[in-house]
Symmetry: C2
Subunit: 422 residues, 2 copies
């Protein structure tokens, strides 16, 4: 067992609050949350929090981890050009080894940012899953069926394989996007969802052009089109959700579909600012993702959280919009539930030991007027003192404990980069 | 002498470029930039950069350092309410001791973010200057004359005193803003500028309401009003510059007035997004500031640089807008020149030794497709390995060397906070 003591604990059950409880983990689970008892058991390790903040890890609810291979490679381009001229041609060259290495790199970046699980849609999922398992990191793979895939039947085989593979890996159904997927393949995915009673996800309403194109092709917006074929009958949601009509918002609220926002990527590709305040007011459940490093270009949850709040203020010309507490709940709780990780959404006995310690003894966290606001409005990766996934410390004081030296991963990443881009 | 070797050097003279030169500092200046000579002198210290990036420090060209005392205190309010109901009443309680302590705290945050100089407008300048001198940090104080000040003559006395006080401190003329300063006091400041041939600065065109109010009061926008009384006859510029008319932009371009952008603060207070691409195209010189921690809420130059780029993309609905190279030049070079620190704008022999080492051996800086873009689009305070001001290392590997223990500063900051807000 590992003991965290002498700190502050951010808990969400029954409303967000901060307590001074002790937290003990046992294996991959939280064993005890409460005051120090009279007699203590023997611990494997005791961590003096020194007043620091223990909280449930951030959940990156939409990403393409191995896209670190394109970081700072093709910047300053509109989404369609970026996707068709830069991303797709270079992705065609990706090997399983490259996906493994660049996923390792992305996982390191998650850990340094306090992220404890990712909801990933990408390619070469065997190599990707291995990178996560070897690192000790938790991931939910989302299928990204599109017209490039050879055989849609692979999705069902992957679904059955990856959900049973390892406790750190699970699998959700999804398509890449309406504009990259034929009607037949969209229907195939909806049928799979029905067959397995599974939620279904997709990139959705990311750009204005995407929505206009869909309306032109089908006479319906992407949410309406997908709903009309039963895609969302067992839940699910959309990544980005920038250009949602009032009707789309009503649909998402009624079916409790997750809107996963990606504020940095939406700025970088000039896609726009998602209407989070409107979505929240309508009752749409919300989560946050980084998107891939090719369009962000970092996997930094502090930046995402900050922007998930302050962009709302400018969008609605109202400095009271986009409150910090909601953003923290989206980051820690919403993401977990969107991904189907219902045991990773809080600090409570029996929950997964996916935890982060934020160092409050840094200048950006002082003075201590309001700690949650300090985290959202002033937090930075320099504050991440420790990241634990499934009860194992994978990152502490700037060092990684993921079974391989960082320098080796950087070296391979740069070798692969040279091979791929020469 | 201190030797930096085995790394990359970002230089700006003759266009931004990266070299593999050695850099030696001697006292407060750079003594040598070039290849390793055959024989080396004896050094006080030799720093192996291990491939990391040495660059001129970031210049925070608009801030209110001691406003760290209000961090996360009054969030989510519009600018006018925030200023009149929260900021001004609490500032009235500030003592010199408080300004000293909270300036120390802000300086630590600058150092952890790679900032080597600040352009500060605030109160209790004796205490503020002492905090900088005691920390070894470089600052340019800007007067903020307004209607609360007792005697405008203080400005002239401060100007003469602080410019002669210490090599780390200088002084520039300015008013707080048109909407807080009477016409008589604005004219007084313009006369001082004429008397001493000095540039003149002010908060300017920060909100739409500010510009509308000025037009209502004077029939002119703030830039036009101030120009009409000779305020800008010896140069200067404006902080924020969000709501500039085409005529205002022409005026700034003709007189080479600095537009200092504060993207985080402008989002947080819902003020808007400054038209940086339009300003740059018109030839207006640009710099970046954090503004105070009360409206940001961090003093984090990586966040400012990122937003100084990506917000332009959404503003102009063009992913090619707001390029990263221009942002780095604004941060390192523009800021120095805006503040009158012409010796702090580059890495070259004779320039001030105000330098930063960014650790590229972190996951967010890998792979090395394009290092300047990695810095702007993915950089974070976790990458700041070392910050040197005037030849002295004030921050290295997370530790501060500013003549006082951080814990003591945090303790005093929280004591003062409790006293002030009880």
């Amino acid at each position: 067992m590992i003991r965290f003591y002498n700190g502050r604990v951010l808990r969400f059950g029954g409303g967000m609050r901060m307590t001074e409880d002790e937290v003990w983990t046992d294996g991959g689970r939280i064993a005890h949350v409460g005051p120090k008892p009279e007699t203590l058991p023997v611990f494997e390790r005791e961590i003096d929090l020194k007043g620091d903040l223990l909280l449930p890890g951030f959940k990156d609810a939409h990403t393409h981890t191995a896209m670190t291979f394109l970081r700072s490679f093709a910047d300053d381009m509109p989404l369609q050009d970026w996707l068709y001229q830069q991303v797709f041609p270079h992705e065609a060259k990706l090997t399983p080894d490259m996906v493994y290495t660049f996923a390792r790199l992305g996982i390191m970046e998650y850990l340094s940012s306090g992220i404890t699980a990712s909801f990933d849609m990408y390619v070469k999922n065997d190599a990707y899953a291995a990178a996560n398992i070897d690192s000790g990191f938790r991931t939910v793979i989302c299928s990204g069926l599109n017209n490039f895939d050879k055989d849609p039947g692979d999705i069902e085989r992957e679904y059955l394989k990856f959900d049973a593979l390892h406790e750190l890996v699970s699998y959700r159904l999804g398509i890449h996007a309406e504009y990259t997927t034929s009607p037949e393949r969209m229907r195939y995915m909806a049928e799979l969802a029905h067959q397995y009673h599974e939620p279904c996800f997709t990139h959705l309403c990311e750009t204005k052009a995407e929505v206009e194109g869909c309306v032109e092709r089908y006479g319906m917006t992407p949410p309406q089109l997908l709903d009309s074929i039963g895609f969302f009958d067992y839940g699910g949601g959309g990544f980005h959700c920038v250009w949602m009509s009032e009707e789309d918002i009503r649909l998402f609220a009624e079916k409790k579909l997750w809107a996963v926002t990606n504020p940095c990527s939406n700025l970088k590709l000039a896609s726009g600012v998602a209407p989070l305040d409107r979505l929240a007011a309508a009752g749409v459940p919300l989560a946050i993702g980084t998107d891939g490093a090719a369009s962000n270009n970092a996997l930094d949850f502090f930046r995402e959280m900050y922007l998930a709040s302050v962009l709302q203020k400018v969008k609605y010309e109202d400095a009271a919009a986009g409150g910090a507490d909601r953003v923290l709940e989206m980051a820690c709780v919403g993401g977990a539930r969107a991904m189907g990780l219902s045991d990773c959404d809080d600090i409570a006995p029996g929950k997964c030991a996916d935890l982060v310690v934020l160092n409050l003894r840094r200048p950006n966290m002082q003075p201590l007027h309001n700690i949650p606001r300090n985290v959202v409005y002033a937090g930075s990766k320099e504050n991440v003192r420790l990241t634990m996934v499934a009860g194992r410390v994978l990152y502490e004081n700037g060092e990684f404990f993921i079974g391989e030296e960082p320098e080796k991963i950087y070296e391979r990443a740069n070798q692969e980069r040279k091979r791929c881009f020469r």
